[in-house]
């Protein structure tokens, strides 16, 4: 049976240990042959099944990583297809590069739950487990969708939309002319389109560059700082970032919105989100901030709860503590320089989490906080949303595919092909870009034709 070939990172993306890239499908062997160089220069596809081999992964001439490759020929594999597993040594970055290389040589990013789906459809998984398979597919996809859309920055999604609308406009122009040749003429249009397509390609290339340096999707541990108004959340963020960013005043409720900063703690990337204080409020602007804070809290990998020990616990604190249960959290007893009205034992009555005495103002206890986070990460207590890395790779792949399609448009123009051929590859590019922002094609083209071009009897 011929299937397309899928690839994904099969392990959790943490900075510790090894990462595994898994490939499955009828081209798995030919792909690995192109990028894996063994010591004896033999082809791994010619080796016996269920053997493990040492060597290096190359993208062309560039060395990516020193790896072990596990070979499993069909049907004796999880998916019952030819399967390759690449054990990489390097950290997150290297695992990503290996996956990207695999994709470049012909695999496509696996959909969430797709390995399991294939295993099931190929009869590898017991029928009685069908329900759990369906559940895995469902939940992984929901999760991926959520993370993809929530992590994609507004600026990027605006750019993608802008490029897409340019492309669909050109397709609609071609199609309206083909549909109604006596009304709309496209003679000599190729030259104009050539310029436009080149502009679009360079715009996508900028996006592609950004996808590498983290501007595209935020990778890392999503850390949310919560606490009552004026508990010292903003001061803490400023201390961690090392610059005055949040507005710090003594008036309760000054951080109206949420603030985000990316912090690198010895290689562990934290996306720190400072939220408005949680408290019942009638102020509309602040209400929005508070709602958003609660939303961020739900999506957090790690919660830092700042308690103002110079005041007593109240309704707001109880509400926050309720939300901390079953979550990874650190409680900071702030303003330890002032006379305490609330103590660790007061809090312990409600929630049992790691507690640290700090004074954000005097910079006391900050080192201990950093060490605690590091410890939690390396012990695997907190990990981050892997899906973000995967989504990032998927997006990058889509950008590359769309550029490929646009180059085919340029080639069609250069070859002097008739105009109707241009729209085939323009449409492919449009579709690929749509996957980034979670939009399919549907009736976009027909709508564009009717709204922008006047045709008809």
């Amino acid at each position: 049976m011929k299937t397309d070939t899928i690839a994904a990172i099969a392990t959790a993306m943490s900075n510790s240990g090894i990462g595994i890239v898994r490939i499955s499908g009828s081209e798995a062997l030919s792909i690995i042959d192109q990028i894996f160089v063994m010591k004896n220069n033999k082809k791994i596809s010619e080796m016996p099944t269920h053997t493990i081999h040492y060597g290096h992964i190359y993208d062309g001439k560039e060395l990516i990583d020193e790896v072990m490759v596990l070979l499993m020929k069909e049907p004796k594999s999880y998916t019952k297809e030819d399967t390759i597993e690449i054990d990489c040594h390097g950290g997150v970055y290297v695992v990503k590069r290996v996956l990207e290389t695999v994709l470049k040589y012909g695999a496509r990013p696996a959909e969430p739950g797709e390995f399991t789906k294939r295993a099931f459809l190929n009869g590898r998984i017991d029928l009685s487990q069908a329900e759990s398979v369906m559940d895995i597919i469902h939940s992984k996809n929901e999760f991926a969708l959520k993370s993809s859309l929530s992590q994609l920055s507004g600026a990027v999604s605006d750019k993608v939309k802008e490029v897409r609308s340019k492309i669909i406009h050109e397709i609609a122009f071609i199609e309206s002319a083909l549909d109604d040749p006596e009304h709309v003429s496209i003679d000599g249009y190729g030259e104009r389109l050539f310029v436009i397509v080149n502009e679009v390609i360079s715009k996508i290339e900028v996006l592609l560059k950004n996808s590498d340096n983290g501007k595209f999707l935020k990778e890392g541990i999503t850390t949310v700082i919560v606490g009552k108004p004026n508990a010292g959340k903003s001061s803490l963020l400023n201390t961690l970032v090392g610059e005055e960013r949040a507005i710090v005043t003594d008036i309760a409720g000054t951080t109206r919105d949420v603030l985000e900063e990316q912090i690198n703690l010895n290689g562990i990337i934290l996306n720190v989100i400072d939220t408005a204080g949680i408290r019942e409020t009638d102020d509309i602007v602040e209400k929005i901030g508070v709602d958003r804070a609660k939303k961020y809290l739900n999506n957090a990998d790690l919660i830092i709860y700042v308690v103002d020990t110079s005041t007593s616990l109240d309704e707001n604190d109880f509400e926050i503590m309720e939300m901390l249960k079953d979550r990874q959290a650190i409680i900071l007893l702030n303003k330890s320089d002032l006379k305490p009205l609330t103590t660790a034992s007061d809090i312990l009555k409600y929630v049992d989490k790691k507690m640290i005495q700090i004074s954000a103002k005097e910079q006391l206890g900050i080192d201990e906080l950093e060490n605690t986070i590091k410890e939690m990460f390396f012990q695997g207590e907190v990990s981050f949303n892997d899906e973000v890395y995967i989504t990032n790779i998927r997006h990058k792949n889509s950008l590359q595919e769309s550029i490929k399609s646009l180059h085919l448009v340029l080639k069609s123009i250069e070859d002097g092909m008739p105009e109707d051929f241009y729209s085939i590859d323009l449409m492919n590019a449009y579709e690929e870009l749509g996957t980034i922002i979670g939009e399919s094609v549907e009736d976009d083209l027909v709508n564009e034709i009717f709204s922008k071009f006047c045709t008809g009897k």
Binding site: L121, E175, G456
Partner: protein, 637 residues
Amino acid sequence: MNRNLLEETYDVAVVGAGHAGCEAALAAARLGLETIIFTVSVDSIALMPCNPNIGGSSKGHLVREIDALGGEMGKNIDKTFIQSKMLNKSKGPAVHSLRAQADKMNYTMEMRKTLQNTDHLTIRQAEVSEILTEEYKTEGVFEKRILGLRTYSGATYHCKAVILCTGTYLRARCLTGELITHTGPNGLQAANYLTDSLVENGIEMLRFKTGTPARIDKRSIDFSKMQEQKGDERVVPFSFTTNPEDVQIDQVSCWLTYTNEKTHEIIRNNLDRSPLYAGIIEGTGPRYCPSIEDKVVKFADKDRHQIFIEPEGLNTNEMYVGGMSSSLPEDVQHEMYRTLPGLENVKIVRNAYAIEYDCINPNQLYATLEFKKIKGLFAGGQFNGSSGYEEAACQGLMAGINASMEVLGREQVVLDRSQAYIGVLIDDLVTKENKEPYRMMTSRAEYRLLLRQDNADLRLSKIGYEIGLISKERYDWVCEKEVLIQKEMERVSEERIGANKEVQALLESYDSIPLNTGVTLAELIRRPELDYEKLAPIDKNRPELPYDVVEQVNINIKYDGYITRQIKLVENFKKLEKKRIPEDINYDEVPSLRIEARQKLKLYHPISIGQASRISGVSPADVSVLLVYMEQMKHTS
């Protein structure tokens, strides 16, 4: 209660004798079934109440496909056209499209003759007012099936299958400004009762709208102020059975003129008298054929619009004003038409008008065009929410074929999106949300490079032959043609052309780069500036071949790369189409489907995984879940 005792029995009954009804009835009768076709007026069989053309971009494809399956439209227009053009000739072969001006009266007459001379076919002038159904129990569940029809006069017709092709006649209402008449097109009688009976049977109705421009008197037109639009010098017939020599006739011209600022001003000043803008129109109109008032409002930046003046036939003075459909009052119509160069003194014969009518939400149909809820009840044409003569005809043909297959106990025929424009059209209708009258467009066909008008016979004759609407003789020729094409493609791929003087001279004459070494003939054909025919002088071993074989060889070689890519896409598409969803699937029992997907799947009841994946609101993850569930079902049942 009507006490009419007239009772008759037929195999198949067709309601409506427009373009859909005619094809449906002919298909059923030709397959040997006793068929009756109802019309409110026998004089309006295959009437063309709007534009006087058959074909056009993508619609020409439909006519070719109808012909390849054994339908009548192509043959009928070949007998009655008065001008013909191949559109988009300078573009790729996928978008070449035939369009002919018809002699409307003659078109109607010829189709009527064909119907009258077909065995097993009865024509009956009567208004059908009721469908007769019954509930029956099968495998423990109650289902509904068709029993027959009743006419307004009370007569009962028992039959095994009914095909509804009521076009724009159901509760039709015509609007010209403030003037509203409760008639069908051209002042014909509307059908006011059938809707109630359909609703009683649980069918969901929609209300759509369309419009037509005025017809004007030829003698009142000054053609010297317009540009003449002639037909092609060499006419290509629509039907694969028509001898090309028979269609080389004297053609009639169309004429081009333009609206201007004055026209637009009159329209803008009278918008309050347009039923569309006054909110009187209830139906949803098509965006692709906007009325002139729509064009002026929506495209305010355009200072003129093209208007085509087209003859309606050889025995009438009437001319069609293409591009200026309207529902403005007749005094405004007079004023606005008279602003156009050449129409300063024009006399209107028939007013422009908008028409509203009842149709169905086509998501109630299977891709066979049978109602999901009523066995034996089929539907085709504008009744299904489409628009256009060709769109109607092809649905009528497929509904006629499938009703017949059901009566005969044979397997039904569904064309998929990779086989035909007809497949794309019907799949769109039954799978996608349809908010306006649906018109075919080449951009709706994702595999359009393969679905060309020139290869419709190669794509579909086999199916037409298996159905029984294409003769053995005709099918044998298509098979022979296939072999000839294959052989010649192999030959040109192997034939070496050396870099000799004669070759270089020929290349030079077409501004083509001279050869360094020998190449195959196929490589030269692929050059944009060359083609199969141009290379004849240097192709010494070329066999004598018919033109339609040569055409296929040229296209297949020239666009080989693109065609191969689309064939690959089709292979993937077919895989999902082949995965049939069991009819008795209960979507409430499929765990992990998202709510929206579950609702949509229950509503549409797709027949295949492929169709399910095209329903908006069904995500790839839902499709995966469905696949897993089906696998489980297969093993546990």
